[in-house]
Amino acid sequence: MKKISIFLLLVFVSCSAFKLEKNIILGEFNWIQYGNSPENLNVSYFNISPPFQLTWKYNAGAGFSYAPMIVADGILFIATLNGEIHAVDIETGKKIGIIEAESAISATPVLYKNKIVIPTAHSKNTLQALDLNLGKVIWREKIGEIEASPLFIYDNLIVATIDSHVINYQIKYDIPQKIWEFKASKPIRSSPASDGNAIVFGCDDGNVYCIDFETGKLRWKFNTNSPIFAPVSIHKGKVFVGALNGTFYGLDLKNGDLKWKFQTNSKIYGGCAIKDSLLFFGTASGKFYALREKDGTVLWTFSAKSVINSAPLVSDNVVFIGSLDKNIYAIDITDGKLLWNYETGGRVKSTPVIWKNFIFVASEDRMVYAFKTQRSK
């Protein structure tokens, strides 16, 4: 018992080792959760475009998930598969501190107020919230492994787990309050999205589930006959998701009716980005598609040299996509022309993020590359 107590103390101490000296100012320009919005649109508030110049590189010491970074108030938070969150000063590229989690962070953390919610993939307490100013874990939950990024909307946190649960927590106060819980039939790796009324996510059982935000009751489900690992996005009353069978689906958010589908003949591991009428996603064959969001018509394609397994990011008229061929590509959204690319030291298997005139790219060589545009708007 004594040993256990000491162990717990060590965990607690290690989690509270980080302390931020300033309050984080959360505004609309911060990237605080997966997809940069509850709809998972992966569109930046900032408009930047090539050419870029490598400004600094930061060694995070371990690998990264499909979307490891969030940004707020000039601080880049980088989650690693080694169970750490590195806080880095964006202007200097210097480390501010490291938050140690209990296990690998396979999903995107969430920032709210001056707190960070950390989902972990394999530990006792797979969800915990840390007060960045106090440097203290303020709550933790044992809800099973988490690989889907939690969704933050209003004052609620929607968490989907490998144990096939979806839980709605009210996190307005320091103690999370469970509002409802939904159970699917198989593990959930697909990050949920919401329009404020409904919550949609994919599941290993091949279904796209839509549940009511208020009640947690099932509204509809759509069967793709193939596991869904990719995050879901919502835009203009439609749900968008790709499945491992290589089909990309456009569904009606109201009733789950199939609006259109597009067969890529390649596995889809990553999410999509949507801007206005354009939808972008990549496949494991390395092909990158721009579809018309309305009807799934292919507008243009671009081929990377290897697998694309993360979601793209759109800023202004440029879409950014990483590939396992080690490159980050910047492509003109209007015609699919390559505007810029940079070969990093490792595979790029995560979505970049943007803060003001910086774009951050996490690479498998354990480095986060910070590029600065010479042309910011």
């Binding site: 690998g63 598969l81 394999h122 697998v307």
Partner: protein, 948 residues
Amino acid sequence: MIKFINLVLCFLFLYSNCLAQWYYFGRNKVQYTEFQWDILKTEHFDIYYHPEMKDIAERGAYFAEEAYAELQEKFNINILNKIPLVFYSSHLYFQQTNTTPGLIPEGVGGFFEFIKGRVVIPFDGSLYQFKHVIKHELIHVFTLHKVQRVLKDRKQPTEKMPPLWFTEGLAEFWSTKWDNQAEMLLRDAVLNGYIVPLSEMDRILGTFLMYKEGQNILEYIAQKYGEEKILLLLENFWKANSFEKVFELTIGKNYKQFDEEWLYHLKKKYYPLLKYNDPPSAVTKPLVVEGFNMKPVFYRNGDKREIYFVGNITGYTNIYKIDLESKTKPKIVIEGERSDKLEAFHLFKTKIDVKNDKLAFITKSGDHDAIHIYDLRSEKITDMFQFNSLVMITSLSFSPDAEKLAITAIDKSGYSDIYIFDLKTKNLKKLTNDFYDDREVAWSPKGDKIAFISDRMNFGIDGKYNIFLYDVNEDKIEYFIYGNFSCSSPSWAPDGRFLAFSSDIDGTQNIWVIDLSQKKFIAELDGTFNLNGYEEVEIKQITNLTTAAFDPTWTDDGRIVCVALENLKFQIRMIENVYEKIEKPNFVQKINYQTIDKNHWDTPKIHGIQKVNVTTYRGKYDLDIAQSQISTDPIFGTVGGAAIALSDLLGNERYYILIYNTAQTKDEILKSFNIAISRVSLSKRTNFAYGIFHLAGRRYDLTDPDLFYYEKAYGGYFALSYPISVFRRVEASIMLNRSDKEILFGVRERKAMLLSNSLSYIFDNSLWSPTGPIDGKRFNITLAYTTDIQFSNVNYYTFIFDYRHYFRLSTRSAYAVRLTLFYNEGKEARRWFMGGSWDLRGYERWSIRGKKLWFVSQELRFPFIDKFDIKFPFGGIFIGSIRGALFFDTGNAWDNKYTETLGSVGFGIRFNIGGVIVLRYDVGKRLENNLSKFQKSFFHQFFFGWDF
């Protein structure tokens, strides 16, 4: 080493140790062929191939790129460096590769080695199989990269790998379909109760059964739990130290729980077979039930009805015969795998034939296969034929007058085609010339047709083989048995009315018969074969076994002898009342010749058309080993050093560099520097090595316990090894060594410029059991002369005679004898030493020393306990088998005057742990006073090491 195997390996695995090269014995990997190498560069591969197989290499390049595209999606990872693929156009060439140090058994279809990331694959005549093996090995490449990446991303050590059942099962699952061989084996395993649960998979580590069970487990998981679980087993690999825990986290069940449902599923699937299908033992008569027996052929030898077959009953493959009526044990006709000419049978592949008192068979003999003709009357091999252009010969069949042989063979380009060889004129005529795989010829009794199997029809692209007829008179090929299924081993009835063959039409191989008296064939003979209604024929299934039957051969009284699998034994069995079975077949399949799709298939190629895409190989050296270490020894103190090994991609040229220092004080640093550089060349048949060395430091002479001295030695050496065959080699070496000795606790000093020469003849055809040889013999005869050419301080000669013979008493027991004489004579001759568990048992290890030594050891080796399985609440210990030995040792060593003969008798047990180490325990009594008196008490010795 990761490898793809076929059925052979499940047997050869038991004897794999016989292939290891041990000590100063060992078999040889002979580089008979001097290969030229070109490199075909594709997007993800550097393909090394010899120019004769350019066409096959270009097809292989396409298969590799196609597999790569699929696998990078399935594994969700790519390979950042180019993958080196080394192709050989035949298995015989592949066996010469230096990319792996060990000898390559028949059953290995390719391998992936970790050090340089090389994938090495032979072509065996079948493009479908080639594609399968390429994909199989690439799955290993992707598995390794995926696992390492998952671990590296989480900063975990990357040494661990998933268990072999998973890696090999996955490589099979994602590279091929569940085929008739897999189905045959699993049915047999389930119905005969030897299916091994996942929780006990270590028991069948590395066997064909493990491969197929692994494949079946993953297929079952994909079907029941979803195929994404396979990838997740790799993605979750970091979550636990044991793979069982990873399995539980991913599937939701531990091994035991999974076993319950998987084994239940198998039983539910296969037990109902017993309602409609028959085990071979229920419906056929046993002729040979032990071992692995293949390719029976019937021969009417005067009054006797005889069956000749290729079999491996004892560990060596031989040709046996049995008399159908007398029920005697199989008699060896040809002893294989012990001599240069009969180096190896291709047990599961090559046909034999008997006609007019002549037995024709195929063995590997040197770099190519050879056809041997054995005269049944004189009981001698009368002829042996080899062809420069033909590397492997895969089947043969006599013409009715036995003056010609139809053969199928693989040439240097890898193509497998049909030939006719005239035994009198020695003329070889090529009948087909394409990339389709032609095999298993059977010449019709009338002499006008040659039946053979081939993948040249449209289903061939999926690995199916149908039966075709070659019209000898009209020189044309006709479709015969056609359909989306595989056929093999065609065999004509003596009167030519029927052709029996095996086919997997119902999912597993059974014996089928076609009657050539059907309307279509009669109409053809009448010249009216184009009439409507005569285009359909029937083939009839005459066995419906739970497992499989194949290799049929007709007797002259309407019976069929075939091979059937039961209880993991390939048995020779007899089917009685064949004509009745043809009248009342299990199933009838119709073939309509009008519906045959005569379009031929082809595969795309990646050409090396641009000069830059194909380059000639020149050795490029990479690091194999680089290790540095500092160690502390109670006698020699602290020793620091490094060892570096470099080799080229094909492993032909190697450099070894050893640097270390044994200095105890600063002053000794320069004095105690040790460096040795060697170059070893394996590219040609004559292997050679040369090098220079400087070795200095304090030494302790084991041959003389009082001698502690400092020695500085430097010089160079050159050594040659010429393998005469896989069993025999001659070795020679010359070394010039300046040796300065200072006795540390005395005043003596000795300087010498030593010139040493040695010449050895080594033979080894021994066959190994898990703890040591059990059959065959091996010996080493060495002559050496060492002289001091400058100071005349040293001058002695050496004679070594070490002979070991193993007389097989039964399948698993043997009488072993060792005769040894070590002799050094002359000035400052070195001493030999013996005593202990490895030689003269009962005496302290290495306590008997002298410049001359003799030793005779006799052992009776036998199985003691077959399985030793202890279960604890927290796990268990499983030891495969414990072997016993009764021994009688005699010998002694002396300098000038022989004193007495020492000896010992006793009993010992040995067991092999993991195939790498044998632990041995001996108990007995010494024989003292010139063997006249037993020791009063018992001695006990526990040590490690293989039997002599």
